[in-house]
């Protein structure tokens, strides 16, 4: 096991990584065109009646994300081959990963709100499958379901928001919507739209108070955490906000909501990252902090802030994926990822230690790295913000804590006394290390020549978000200014925090107790309460007694149909009653007498025969009122029912007693009420003659269009053929259901 490189299957990851490589080459080939303004796009009518198109569009912002998704995907696929070598669900994992990657690419390339929503949901579903990959473990299942419910719940809100936005803007097409910011902002539906879309974005991008699913999602194997829950999927919310900046930003609500939720998330994530001891959890919380920073930066809606957000996003994707992969390597090579245990691995794993140091410099944001530029831009933005007096300290404290965290990650596992680990540590194989090495190097390269990244990736993305803005010049050295000073302050503070890290151990041990009051506990309790409520109402409504089901169905009908009578009861004039003829009265009387006999008799056969009499009498009524088709079917059905009953009667126990008086009273009341309702309904329908137009419609067209003179049958098999198809399907299922029930019983009694 140790080494992990000697496994024959480890190369398979790199073989599969040819798929993302193909995508990457295609996106890189599209990039020069996008820089010139020639944007690749595709649009296929999907539900044209509703204005829905399946459309893809690769502008600068979409391409930046697509390149990150396919590029990091390629490295992670290769890395995963080593990490997951010998994993029992290796193939399944890669199938899910490829499905996820395609969903994620669809999300960022979507040129239509509905297309985007479908891919958005697909990423939630594939994420669920990937978190729960080791489904034998309860923790993995629980974390997967929690992530699905949180992001899926946000997805529902997002769907409503998209539909409303499409209605206000008159189109689901993003290019059409982009210049309509003024129209949307002035609409009374603006605030609901904003809140619903933010609910979707905040749940997906793990903003406070929906952040808790992300650390739990670390149950997934590390390549999945690195890919989905750090580099790509969790940035979908940020992507959405950036994409809709031109449509939704510019209002006080937008700025206040994004800035405040972003700031709280940024600070909370940083503090939590400092207080946990699991390598992956540290990275998860620092990811939450970074996502908060990006949301915060999208708040002001100024070109400088948007620029900062995109630079930060690019830098974060590079170093965080690298750090995650390093955490996975440490875990894989030593058997633990607890920073309170790990130390002194530098000699055993020198390359890993070096790469960790480079990636951690990016996390700390101090040195010749892209994230340093991003942090300077962040500080400039908060200095220029309206409420700088709150935001500046928050930003400095968060940055300081993250600097301390970076030191923990880069120094504690590798320096000091050599620790005892479950597996004797050895250096990882080159194929295992390739991913983090490449990503950390790119981060360093972009830091040294920032203008390169600025021209090919950042400027086109910013131009796609705000077409009117001009490209900013990126440089490591901005001269001696306030942001640099603040940077120095935060780094100094961070080093102090790192040195005193041991003293915070009491907080660390008390963390689980404090968590009882957090939003995660609230969420779990809500889910638990929902489940027990569902159980409770199922036990009452679906208790297995057919008579209770009937009672519920009848009472529900009574409630909902009876509701419509509140407008007034249908009137019956005495004149209508004059043409009632004698034989009709006789048949009605027979029905009544037979019904009374059915409910009073203590012979089952008698009751069945009585029901037959009721049915035949009703069928006779149909013939009187010239509905021979109905009568014919009714006669056949009644005969068949009696036959079936007789077949069942053999198997029933001896008749013992009628129901108790109270039950009979209840049933009588419900029966009389339903009877009265049906009578009223029929009278109401005949009084308004609502069927008049439909009747003449079918009567006129029956022969001309359907070549049949029996209108009833023509409606059944031609005009409303689809309904009939549904009905006979139900009939077949009912037949199979009876078959299943009977056979099941035979087997049980046989065994």
């Amino acid at each position: 096991m140790a080494g992990g490189s000697s496994h024959g299957s480890s190369w398979r990851g790199w073989a599969i990584s040819l798929i993302p490589l193909g995508f990457l080459i295609w996106f890189l080939a599209l990039l020069p065109g996008a820089l010139r303004g020639e944007i690749w796009s595709l649009s296929v009518p999907w539900i044209p009646q509703l204005g829905v198109f399946f459309s893809l569009r690769a502008d600068g912002l979409a391409l930046l994300f697509a390149i990150l998704i396919s590029g990091i995907g390629m490295l992670i696929f290769g890395y995963g081959g080593h990490y997951l070598a010998g994993h029992r669900y290796f193939v399944r994992c890669y199938v899910y990963l490829v499905a996820f990657m395609i969903s994620m690419l669809g999300l960022v390339l979507a040129g239509d709100l509905i297309t985007m929503f479908v891919f958005w949901e697909l990423t939630s579903i594939t994420s669920y499958l990937l978190i729960g990959l080791d489904h034998e473990r309860e923790a993995a299942r629980k974390a997967a379901l929690q992530a699905l419910l949180v992001t899926g719940g946000g997805g529902l809100a997002l769907m409503v928001g998209f539909l409303m936005l499409g209605r206000v803007g008159g189109s689901f097409d993003l290019v059409t919507l982009a210049p309509l910011g003024d129209v949307v902002l002035a609409d009374p539906l603006y605030l609901p739209i904003l809140l619903l879309i933010l609910a979707g974005a905040f749940t997906k991008s793990a903003q406070f108070p929906f952040h808790f699913w992300l650390p739990n999602a670390m149950e997934a194997p590390t390549p999945i955490s690195a890919y989905l829950h750090s580099a790509t999927m969790v940035k979908a919310g940020v992507y959405l906000l950036a994409r809709l900046t031109s449509v939704l930003s510019g209002s006080v609500e937008w700025t206040v909501l994004l800035t405040s939720f972003g700031a709280v998330t940024m600070l909370l994530g940083a503090v939590m990252a400092f207080l946990v001891s699991d390598l992956k959890k540290i990275l998860a919380y620092s990811t939450i902090s970074a996502l908060g920073t990006m949301v915060l930066l999208l708040g002001p809606g100024t070109p400088a802030a948007v620029n900062a957000a995109i630079v930060f996003l690019l830098a974060h994707a590079l170093y965080k994926a690298a750090l995650f992969m390093i955490a996975g390597i440490i875990d894989h090579q030593t058997g633990t990822r607890d920073v309170t245990i790990l130390s002194g691995l530098r000699r055993a794993m020198p390359v890993t230690a070096a790469v960790a140091a480079v990636a951690a410099i990016s996390l700390a944001g101090f040195g010749p790295v892209l994230s340093f530029i991003a942090k300077e831009m962040l500080l400039e933005t908060v200095l220029a913000a309206g409420n700088a007096s709150i935001l500046v300290p928050v930003a400095i404290i968060s940055a300081a804590i993250l600097t301390a965290t970076a030191c923990i990650l880069a120094i504690r596992p590798f320096y000091g006394l050599r620790c005892v680990t479950p597996i004797a540590p050895t250096e990882a194989s080159p194929g295992f290390l390739a991913g983090p090495v490449v990503l950390a190097s790119i981060g360093l390269l972009f830091g040294i020549v920032p203008q390169f990244a600025g021209t090919i990736l950042i400027a086109p993305a910013v131009a796609a978000i705000m077409p009117q803005s001009e490209a900013l010049h990126l440089a490591l050295w901005h001269g001696l200014n306030v942001p640099l000073l603040l940077s120095v302050v935060s780094v100094t503070l961070g080093v102090v925090l790192f040195v005193t890290w041991e003293r915070f151990s009491t907080f660390r041990t008390r963390l689980p107790q404090a968590a009882r009051f957090g939003p995660a506990a609230l969420w779990d309790n809500t889910v638990e309460a929902t489940v027990s409520f569902a159980g409770w109402q199922s036990r009452i409504l679906q208790n297995g007694y057919l008579r209770i089901y009937l009672l519920m169905i009848l009472m529900a009908t009574l409630l909902f149909v009876g509701f419509s009578f509140l407008d007034g009861l249908p009137l019956v004039s005495i004149a209508d009653l004059n043409d009632v003829r004698l034989h009709e009265v006789v048949v009605a009387a027979v029905i009544l007498v037979a019904t009374l006999f059915v409910i009073r008799t203590d012979s089952r056969l008698g009751a069945v025969a009585g029901l037959g009499v009721v049915g035949y009498s009703v069928a006779f009524m149909y013939t009187v009122f010239s509905a021979p088709d109905l009568a014919m079917t009714q006669f056949a059905i009644e005969t068949l029912t009696v036959v079936l009953f007789v077949l069942v009667l053999y198997h029933l126990p001896r008749f013992s007693a009628l129901s108790p008086a109270r039950t009979r009273l209840r049933d009588a009341l419900v029966a009389i009420a339903v009877g009265a309702m049906m009578t009223m309904l029929v009278l109401g329908v005949t009084a308004t003659n609502a069927g008049g137009r439909a009747t003449s419609f079918y009567a006129e067209r029956s022969v001309i269009e359907a070549h049949g003179r029996n209108v009833v049958n023509v409606i059944l098999v031609d005009f409303r053929g689809l309904d009939t198809l549904g009905e006979i399907t139900v009939l077949a299922i009912a037949g199979l259901g009876v078959y299943g029930l009977l056979k099941l019983r035979v087997e049980r009694s046989g065994s």
């Binding site: 088709d629 079936l644 077949l647 069942v648 003179r709 049958n713 006979i728 037949g735 009876v738």
Partner: protein, 132 residues
């Protein structure tokens, strides 16, 4: 039930009842009848046979699994919607043609499907209840 008269009568009545049910099925286009009542009639006729002999023997006499009738019926009904689909019109659009002087179309096929499903599921229920 063990009655020689019923058993003998049933043997001669069953083919007639089946023929009659098919007559009702095709008659439904212009006069009262159709797949639903035709199928029910056939099933009721067969009930006679179940009473005259027993479910096991009736099943043997049927020679065809009633499940098959249900499935075939659904396939026929659904298949009758395909010609319309192939011509680029909505599913189940009726297509009409002439056989001699008679006008024949996909709804007739659909009705046959209904007949088979109704017969199939009624027989499934009856035979299994009777077999118990």
């Amino acid at each position: 039930m063990n009655s020689i008269i019923l058993r003998t009568a049933a043997r001669y009545l069953i083919p007639l009842l089946f023929l009659f049910s098919i007559f009702v099925l095709f008659r439904g286009h212009n006069l009262p009848g159709g797949g639903f009542s035709g199928g029910l009639l056939a099933a009721t006729g067969f009930a006679l046979y179940i009473f005259a002999t027993d479910a096991r023997e009736a099943k043997k006499a049927l020679q065809i699994d009633p499940h098959l009738l249900m499935g075939a019926g659904l396939l026929v009904a659904m298949g009758s919607g395909l010609p319309g689909l192939i011509q680029g019109r909505p599913f189940l659009s009726s297509i009409w043609g002439h056989i001699g002087s008679e006008v024949v179309g996909t709804p007739v096929l659909f009705d046959i499907g209904v007949y088979l499903v109704v017969l199939g599921s009624s027989l499934t229920i009856m035979l299994n209840l009777g077999e118990e």
